[in-house]
Amino acid sequence: MNMLVARLVQALAVALLVGAATFAMMRSLPGDAAWRIAAGRYGYDNVTAAAADAVHAELGLGGPWLPAFAQWMGDLLRLDFGVSLVSGQPVLQEIAHQLGASLWLALAAVGLSLLIGPPLGILAGLRPGGWLDQSLLLVSTALKAVPQFLMALILILVLSVQWGWLPAAGYGTARHFILPALALGLGLAAVNARIARDAMARIAAMPFYHFARWKGLSRRQVLWRHGLRNVAVPLLTYLGLQFVLLVEGVVVIESIVGWPGIGHALVHAVFSRDVPMVQGTALVLGLGFVLVNALIDLALVRIDPRKAQ
């Protein structure tokens, strides 16, 4: 219960922070925001002073900041995000449209990383210092030094340009998922594997684990009944914290492969100074983190009832 209250406070603080940051962005845009927004709406060649003035008046870009801030936060707390300055569509509608594509990509990446990382990490942790452990350390250290955008670049060059196996960019079919999901998932898997390995090595060295072996359970039975559940606790905790990393990756990777998701929309919104869109997407991403971590909190209590106290 306490945990959920803490998450609620975190969610509120996120909303306040996003509101303040986007308000500051709105007020202190370098250059004339109205010109940029008008350019985004009508195209760079069709902007006139009249169009920019119309935008300026419509958005109330002048005036004192305190009432404007109060109104800004009021709108935010009433979940009124307004309309996109560029497309004129309601922000919520745009985000609802884009969120699905991003969610699928993120789920595919996490699923892939969980398929690759933890099994290898658990196998390595069962024999610390063995050849698998050593090579896993080497590979995961190297993978951690490859940023996600660089991974995407390498995968595009190798898998789609050189060998022609996968489309380099685009969205629609299952084939389009593989490349961006790999680019995101490999980095996550490198870290997952290390977490699982350390947890497994620590647990396998504990007295209760030896006792389970001693009372006659086979290696497999001990691992399934006593090992995995304990390994899941740090793994899940870390997965929640990694969510931010995943979102960052989604933002970058979507921009590279032209994925029609929320990250792509965010970069474009920042670029064309579409502040309501920035606010909406930032809020969805921040509250998504809080929601995912609240769910993980609940799951952890079920896995490890000691945490409830």
């Binding site: 406070v9 975190q10 603080a13 996120v14 306040l16 922070l17 996003v18 940051a21 986007t22 500051a24 962005m25 202190s28 845009l29 370098p30 250290t141 190297a142 951690k144 030094a145 490859v146 940023p147 996600q148 955008f149 660089l150 670049l153 390498i154 060059l157 340009v161 870290v191 290390r194 977490i195 350390d198 931010v244 979102v247 960052e248 933002v251 970058v252 921009s255 590279i256 965010l266 970069v267 920042v270 670029f271 100074r273 920035v278 930032a282 991403l285 921040g286 509250l287 983190f289 809080v290 971590n293």
Partner: protein, 270 residues
């Protein structure tokens, strides 16, 4: 009693040494490279477009005939310098606020923790993008945005370790004996925190460099003609078939830089 060097550096395994050597080599190249072979990272010569290495450009030329040696050296000065400045600012802020939270407790601590938690829930790149849109100048924008993102980790670590150390009998005794806060920080807190600080600083620097390169790569960070690692990659990408080595130069440099930092950090973030 003599102390062996081994005793003084208990947590200094092989990986860290390799990382440190890698970083020193990169720093030497970034600083001395342009002095060794004089040249200009901005000088274009379309005659030499994508040409191979020569005496004036040991790493060859890019699509505009600029020397990759000099562009790489400049890029390896730019983002590490911004990253180090951001990490230094973040470490100071995190350390100060973390100690403040641990020492004051109550609402000061609660408010700072809530702020840190809220910042942690937001993707770092997003905050950097927003700050970049607000601040004039890309380099200062990156510095401010990255500092804003990175201080949270320092704050959390400082608060956690300061809380336990400040409650320890040793600190109580020191305070009863009349020692000041500066003394307590130097003798009790800092030795406890220093190893963690190094790890966090190395990870933070790597995060910052990755962020600058990633935003450069998707064309919302540094702008041409600034020599920057991500920007160099995206500029050279269309010519990778004609000049694969030209593209490989910034790719390998980024990898070496980030590998050095990861190894120097040692272990993984808990």
């Amino acid at each position: 009693m003599t102390q062996s060097p081994r005793h003084r550096w208990p947590h200094w395994p092989l990986g860290r040494s390799i990382g440190a050597v890698l970083l020193v080599m990169i720093a030497l190249f970034a600083i001395w490279g342009p002095k060794l072979v004089p040249g200009d990272p901005f000088a274009q010569s379309l005659m030499a477009s994508l040409a191979g290495p020569d005496a004036g450009a040991p790493f060859g030329h890019d699509h505009l005939g600029r020397s990759l040696w000099h562009r790489l050296a400049a890029a390896l000065r730019l983002s590490p310098l911004i990253a180090l400045a951001a990490v230094a600012t973040a470490a100071m802020a995190g350390l100060g606020l973390g100690m403040l939270a641990a020492a004051c407790g109550g609402w000061t601590e609660r408010a700072l923790v809530i702020l840190a938690d809220a910042l942690m829930a937001l993707p770092g790149l997003l905050l950097v993008l927003i700050v970049l849109a607000i601040m004039p100048g890309t380099a200062t924008g990156f510095w401010a945005g990255l500092s804003l993102v990175l201080w949270v980790e320092f704050f959390r670590l400082t608060r956690a370790s300061a809380r336990s150390v400040l409650a320890s009998p040793a600190v109580q005794a020191a305070r009863l004996l009349g020692f000041g806060w500066a003394y307590i920080f130097r003798t009790h807190l800092w030795p406890e925190m220093a190893p963690m600080m190094l790890t966090t600083a190395a990870f933070g620097t790597a995060t910052a460099i990755m962020a600058i390169a990633a935003l450069g790569f998707v064309s919302v960070g540094m702008t041409a003609p600034t020599p920057e690692l991500g920007l160099m990659m995206v500029e050279l990408l269309p010519y990778w078939r004609e000049a694969p080595l030209a593209l490989l130069t910034p790719v390998l440099a980024s990898f070496a830089l980030l590998l050095g930092l990861t190894l120097l950090a040692g272990g993984h973030r808990a």
